[in-house]
Amino acid sequence: MTTRTITLANRDGATYEVDGRQPLLKSLMDQSVDLPYGCEYGGCITCAGKLIEGEVNQAPQVALNNRQINNGYIILCVARPLTDCVLEVGVDSHDKLYRNPFLDPLEPHELKADIAAPAPITETPK
């Protein structure tokens, strides 16, 4: 097994050794971390956490729009760690997850992946 070390920044920096092939939600709950969840297939956003450092594969998720992904959110019930990671978990990591859709609309490239426009090309400073 490929072991990764997961640090929970908003749980006093507690660390857990997990199997890189397992979704993070399962690995952490198996080690008695109390986490919110709902559908467990990556569609309902209940289990969202924030990736502070590291890399995950969360290809099966369909809950997040590109704005949320750019803000670092990951869907723990399907995300598998590719490296050691530092995370914030639970509802107290959701400060940027929810926004009033009338006051703060999404740009076309910030929608969910299946309907998003390509990201605008930003000029790279010479």
Binding site: C39, Y41, I45, A63, P105, L111
Partner: protein, 450 residues
């Protein structure tokens, strides 16, 4: 309890209106989305003004797991079984829309403290029927059908779960979903062999929250569907277009001979009326709630009609504008020409009634339930956890409230009862959010007559 004859419920809507007053309410309360790692529960509320614990939560039936998002619920039997003395209105069917678990609560052993009788796991439902996200529960004779908003992966259009009277999974109820794109609510009128269903969105679309842009990408519904109820397949679709964006709650007249029915289009903030005209079914828009300006908003605020309900005598239609913060009463004696007869304010984004009966109202009027005699309307303020978090983020710490509105059934008119307030912000395990309500003796959204 229920009416005098044989089985559950009442011989007619007129008989239901004569039933004894409701003394207990069962109301959904949520911890999903609050950050409190507690199960959702069904709260029992004392609604008897003679009682010492009037307007208080007196029982809490916790679900076995966390994260269900309890939402709507229904009875195992209603007036459609009135002639069947083998049936009784005893079990409350309480689905979790996120987990897909369906909880069966026994309300007879101790009506003040319902207990879990059985749980049908979401995993079993997905495996046997490829359906998820249970929503509306109706019974048909002694069987039960539940609208399911998605397939096992949360994609539209979902379908209908069929349970037998002992809560075993029979399979899928419908023979075909036809061209239907989304599911949500439904109601049927057996004498006319018709069922009408409405459209929210795929679970994978609405559960994470509301992205307005997805409406334009056709990720939300704008059609309603008429079904051949016996053949269990759709036979006609009404494309409501911009007038019918996100059509949610479906209500037929209670009178089983009537073909008139109504749906509230949440985002368009319109009421759509349908009826049978000779051999043809027709529809029209009868109420259009205007968007309201808001000092901080670049665009006017839509009402967002989250619920509608008809009084048992089919005289009044009630609707809630969850974002504006008002409940309206319309006389629909002529269903083509509704007349507004009452309006009250609580919470909402327009700032018209931030505090009611001494409690801060976070959220707006959302789910309502009306007493059988039409005089008492019970109101709760939370819509759906992720949507609450977008529009009323303070609900996480403030919780929801339940209020009661007195309704004048003779001349029309509404007023908030100053003596009734259930503040779910003060629940012993922390602030929770209240949603749908039902009464042991049946209510204005549970019973259908054959």
């Amino acid at each position: 309890m229920d009416g005098a004859c044989c089985g559950p419920g009442y011989a007619s809507p007129a008989e239901a209106m004569q039933a004894p007053r409701e003394k207990l309410l069962y109301t959904i309360a949520l911890y999903v989305g609050t950050g409190l790692q507690k199960p959702d529960y069904v709260a029992t509320i004392d609604a008897d003004p003679e009682s010492d614990t009037y307007s208080q939560v007196i029982g809490r039936c916790e679900m076995p797991g966390i994260g269900d998002e309890l939402h709507h619920m229904g009875w195992n039997a209603c007036s459609s079984c009135h002639g069947d003395e083998g049936m009784e209105r005893r079990y409350l069917i309480v689905p979790g829309v996120r987990s897909s678990n369906i909880h069966i609560l026994d309300t007879k052993l101790d009506p003040r403290n319902p207990s879990i009788h059985k749980v049908i796991s979401g995993e079993e439902i997905k495996r046997k029927t490829n359906l998820s996200a249970p929503h509306t529960v109706h019974c048909l004779g002694s069987e039960i059908i539940i609208s399911m908003l998605g397939d096992a992966q949360g994609n539209a259009p979902g379908g209908y779960l069929h349970l037998d009277k002992d809560f075993n999974i029979v399979g899928r109820w419908e023979n075909s979903m036809g061209e239907i794109k989304f599911s949500y609510d439904f109601w049927y009128q057996p004498r006319h062999n018709v069922m009408v269903s409405s459209e929210w969105a795929a679970p994978n679309t609405f559960m994470p929250g509301f992205d307005l842009e997805e409406v334009g990408h056709l990720k939300y519904g704008r059609e309603i569907h008429l079904w051949d109820f016996e053949k269990k397949e759709p036979k006609q679709t009404f494309y409501l277009g911009e007038d019918g964006l996100v059509p949610l709650e479906v209500r037929f007249h209670h009178d089983p001979a009537s073909t008139h029915g109504f749906v509230g289009a949440a985002l368009s903030a319109n009421i759509i009326h349908w009826w049978k005209d000779g051999e043809d079914w027709r529809w029209e828009k009868i109420i259009d709630v205007a968007n309201e300006p808001h000092p901080d908003w670049p665009i006017p605020v839509p009402g967002v009609i989250s619920v509608i309900l008809l009084s048992m005598d089919d005289k009044y239609l009630y609707l809630c504008n969850w974002l504006h913060g008002d409940i309206r009463q319309y006389d629909i004696s002529d269903p083509h020409n509704p007349v507004m007869t009452g309006q009250v304010w609580m919470g909402g984004l327009l700032g018209k009634a931030p505090v009611v009966n001494g409690a801060k109202v976070t959220g707006g009027p959302q789910m309502i339930q009306l007493s059988l005699d039409g005089k008492r309307l019970y109101v709760t303020t939370s819509l759906f956890s992720t949507w609450d978090n977008q529009f009323y983020p303070e609900i996480r710490t403030n919780g929801g409230v339940m209020l009661q509105v007195d309704c004048d059934t003779e001349n029309g008119g509404m007023s908030i009862n100053p003596d009734f307030l259930v503040d779910f912000g003060k629940e012993p395990n922390g602030p929770s959010r209240c949603h749908e309500t039902r009464y042991p003796g049946g209510d204005c959204t549970s019973d259908i007559w054959l």
